[in-house]
C-alpha cells in the first residue's frame, strides 16, 4: 500500500476550506496592490469624477460657486467658437486617419526586406528620432515655417520660386494645413513597431502560399498583409481618435489656436476657457465631458466597423 509522503509542517487543503494563511496571503497581495490602486484612484479617477461634477457648476477653480444644471452645455451648443473648433478637429481627425497610410506602407515595405541587417538598420533609423523631445521638434517646425527666416521660404527663394513664398502659420487659410504637414513623411515609429510586431507574428507558410499562387506585391498587401494587421490597426486607430479629439499640444505651442481660430480645437478651447482671464473651470469641465462623449462614440463606432480577423 502506498501512502503519500507527507512533508513536515505542511497542510493539505480540501476544496472550499479557509485558513488563516490564505487570508494573510490575500491581505499581503492587497497591500502590494494598494499603492498603485490609491494613486490610480487619486490621480486618474478623482480628477475625472471631479470634472464631471463641476461640469454642472459655475466654478472659478477655487470655490464651487453655483449649481447651474445644464446651463454650461446649453452655452456650449450656442457657442460659435466651439463649433469652429469642432470643425477644425474633424478635419484634423480625417487627415490623421488618412495619414496612417504611410506608416502602414512603410511597415509592409520594411517587412518584405529580405536582408535581416537591412531590416534592423531601418528599424533603428525609425527609432532614432524618438530620442528628440516632441517640443523640440515642434519648435523646429515653427522656425521652418517662419515667413522671414524659415527654411521653406528660404528654399523657395533659393530655387527661384519666391513668388510662391507663403505666410504659413501666419495665414489663416494655410495654418491648419501647415500643422497637418508637420511630421512629413508621417511615419509614426510606435505604430510602425506595432504593425511590424503583428506581421512578424504571422505564420510564414502564408507568404509561401501566396508566392506559390503568384500573388503580386500590391494584391499581397491589400488581400493578405492588411487584413492580418487589422487588430494592430484598430489599436492604433483608437490611439489616433482619442489623441486627436482630446489633444491640443501642437496647437498650443505653435499657434495658440490662431490665427483667428483657424487652428483652434476643442481641447485647446477648453484650456483657454479654464485658464484664461475669467477662469471658467465649470464651462471647461463641460467641454471636457462633451469631448469624452464624442471620443467614446467615435471609438465604439469605429471598432464595430472594423472587425479583426
Amino acid at each position: 500500500m502506498n501512502h503519500p509522503i507527507k512533508a513536515l509542517n505542511t497542510k493539505t487543503y480540501k476544496f472550499g476550506s479557509k485558513s488563516a494563511s490564505s487570508g494573510k496571503l490575500w491581505l499581503t497581495g492587497l497591500l502590494f496592490v494598494m499603492p498603485a490602486l490609491v494613486l490610480t484612484l487619486l490621480f486618474d479617477y478623482y480628477p475625472i469624477l471631479s470634472g464631471v461634477y463641476h461640469a454642472f457648476y459655475r466654478w472659478d477653480g477655487a470655490q464651487t460657486e453655483k449649481f447651474v444644471g445644464f446651463d454650461n452645455f446649453v452655452e456650449i451648443f450656442q457657442d460659435r467658437v466651439f463649433w469652429i473648433s469642432v470643425k477644425n478637429m474633424a478635419i484634423i481627425l480625417v487627415s490623421h486617419i488618412l495619414l496612417m497610410i504611410p506608416t502602414i506602407v512603410a511597415c509592409i515595405v520594411l517587412f518584405r526586406l529580405r536582408s535581416g541587417r537591412s531590416q534592423y538598420l531601418y528599424r533603428l533609423l525609425f527609432c532614432i528620432p524618438m530620442v528628440v523631445p516632441m517640443l523640440v521638434t515642434m519648435l523646429l517646425w515653427q522656425f521652418m515655417y517662419n515667413p522671414q527666416f524659415g527654411f521653406f521660404n528660404q528654399l523657395l527663394d533659393a530655387v527661384g520660386l519666391d513668388e510662391y513664398k507663403q505666410l504659413w502659420l501666419g495665414d489663416p487659410d494655410l495654418a491648419l494645413g501647415s500643422l497637418l504637414f508637420m511630421g512629413f513623411p508621417w511615419i509614426n515609429t510606435i505604430a510602425a513597431l506595432i504593425y511590424l510586431g503583428g506581421l512578424q507574428g504571422v505564420d510564414g507558410s502564408i507568404w509561401d502560399a501566396a508566392k506559390m499562387d503568384g500573388v503580386g506585391p500590391i494584391t499581397q498587401a491589400l488581400r493578405i498583409e492588411l487584413p492580418l494587421i487589422k487588430g494592430q490597426f484598430k489599436l492604433n486607430m483608437v490611439g489616433v481618435i482619442s489623441g486627436t479629439i482630446t489633444g491640443y499640444g501642437t496647437q498650443l505651442v505653435l499657434t495658440n489656436g490662431g490665427p483667428g481660430n483657424s487652428t483652434l480645437v476643442p481641447g485647446l478651447y477648453m484650456y483657454q476657457r479654464a485658464f484664461g482671464g475669467n477662469t471658467e473651470f465649470g464651462y471647461a469641465s463641460a467641454v471636457g465631458l462633451l469631448l469624452f462623449g464624442i471620443a467614446l462614440l467615435i471609438t465604439v463606432a469605429t471598432l464595430k466597423m472594423i472587425k479583426s480577423e
Binding site: K24, T28, L31, F32, M34, P35, V38, L39, D60, G61, A62, Q63, E65, K66, V81, Y145, N146, P147, Q148, F149, L167, W168, L169, G170, D171, P172, A175, L252, V253, T255, N256, G257, G258, P259, G260, N261, L264, Q272, R273, F275, G276, G277, N278, T279
Partner: protein, 553 residues
Amino acid sequence: MKKIRLAHTARWLPPLLLSVAIAATGCSRQNEPAAGGSTPAATNLDDSKSSIPADKTFHIKLMDWQGQNPPYQAAYDQAINDYMKLHPNVKIEHIFQPNSNNGYDKLLDTQFVSHTAPDAMQLSGDMIKKYTNQGYIMALDSYYNQPSAYAEGKNWIDTFVGGASGFQNAKTGNKFGAISFVPVDGGPGLNSNRPFFYNMDLLKQAGVTKLPETWHEFMEVCQKLKDAGITPIAADNNRWLLWIHAWTGNQFGENYINGFFDSKYAGNSDLIETKKAIAVLTDKVGTKDPIMNAQAELLKQFSQYWQDGWAGANEQAAQQLFLYQKAAFLLDGNWNYGFYKENIKDFEWGVTPFPVITEQSSPYAEGAMPKGLDMLSVYGWGLNKDLEKDPDKLKVVVDIFQYMTSKEAQDKFVDTAVVNSPVVGVHVPEVLIPFMESDKNKLQNPAGNLLFATANSPTFLAAAQQFYTGKIDQEEFMSLIGQDAKKTVEKKAKDQLDEKIGIPATIAQVEKDIADLKAENGPQPLIDAQQKTFEALKLQLEMYKTYAEPVLK
C-alpha cells in the same frame, strides 16, 4: 519557528514601508528652532524696530519670473542677499518660474489648491485680481496701515507714491476692495508710456531724420520705411495686439463713460470699473460706438506696416525680427532695456515715446496720453494666505517686503534693474526718461479700448487676428467683440447682484469685519479704510440695481 516568523515579517515589511513612504511624502518640515538666537548687527538700515523673532530659523520661498530679465533678477538677488545679511536667521529661496505660455499662473493654480505655493510670489494685474478673488493671497490693508520698521516710524502705505490714494486701482480691482499685493519694481509714471525701441540704421536707410512724436508723423515714417523695402513694425499675434489696442485706446474718450450716468456717480474712482461694465451691458458703448470704431479704423490702417505673417508670430519671433534688423520698430517694456543693451552690438538703436494721437489722425483723439502719476499699477508681490497659519513666518515675510520697499534698498534696486520705484523719494535712472510720464500724460478716465478690453482675451485676439489680416471686415470684427463683451458683462452683472456670491455678500462680510474691528478696538485707519470700502460697495450695488437689473430682467 523563529526563521518562519521572520520570513512572515519580511513579507509584510516591503508593502508596509512603501505605504509609510507614500504617506510621508505629504509631510513637510516646518521651521526649526535655531541653535542659539542672536540678533544680527544692523547695517545701513535700522532694523531695531523689526519685530521678527530672532530665536528661530525661517525658510522663505519667493517666486518670480525675473530670471528672464537679468537686470531685474540681479536687483532682486541683491535685495534678498542684503536682507539675509541683515537677518542671518532668515534663509530666502529665490525661485525662478518662466512666465511664457502661461506657465507661471498654471503652476500657481495647482500650487494654491494643494497648499504648496511659495510664501510670496510676483503677480501681474490679472493674477492679483484672480487670486484675491479666489482667496489665495492675503489682504494687506492692516499691514499697510502700520509703521514700517525701515521707514522711521511712517506707516508703510505712506512710503509709497501717492500714499493710500496710490492704491485706488488695487482696491477696485477685486471683489473685496482690498490691497492684496506689494509693489516692489515699477512705480507710477513708468507704465504711462510704452515706448518703441527703434533701429536708427534702418531709419537712416529710409531717409528718416526725425523721430515721430505724433501718430500722423509715425505713419509717415512707417510709409517711408515701407517704400524703402524695410518692415516698419515687428508685431506678434498676442502681446502686441493687447498693447497696441491699450496704448491707442487710452488716448480716446476722456470722461466718455461718465456722461451715461447720474452726476452723483461722477468723480468717484471706485466706480470706474462698474460704470464701464454697465455701459457695455446697457449698449451705451456698443458695436456702433464711434470711439470704438475710430480706434479700430486707426489700427486697421496701421496694420499694413506690420511684418508679413505677424499673425503666426509670437513675442520672441517679433523680438528676433528686430534684433536681426529685419524690422525698424519694436514695442517693448523697460524690463528688457538691459537685455537690448547687452545684446545689440551691430546697429545703433534707441527708445522713443509712444506717439500721441492728435485730431489730425482721428477726430475723437484727445491729443494726450493717460495720466498715471498718482496711481500705482496693479502689479507686484502677493503673500500666500496660508501664512496666516504661521504668525511668526508671516511677520518675517512682511518684514522682507518692508525692507525691499525701503528707500535705501530701492535706491540700489532701481539702478540695477533699470526701473523706477513705487517708493517716495527714490531717484529715477536717466535711461528711463522715455518710459516715464511726461507733460503729454493728462487724461484721467479715457474710455477707448473699452469694448476690446471687456471681451474675453482669446475671443478678442482671434477676432483681431482675423480683422487685421483682412479675413473679416470691421463690422464683423466689432460684432464679434461686442457680442462677447456683452456676454461677459452679463455674467459679471448677474454674479455681482447675486446674494450669495455677489456684492451683497461682500457688503455683509465687510460690515462684519468693521463690527469685529470696533469690538476689538482695532486701529482707526483700518476701520476708516474698511468703511470707505463699504461705502464704495454700496454705491456699486446701487448702480447695478439701478442700471443693470432692469436690463437683465
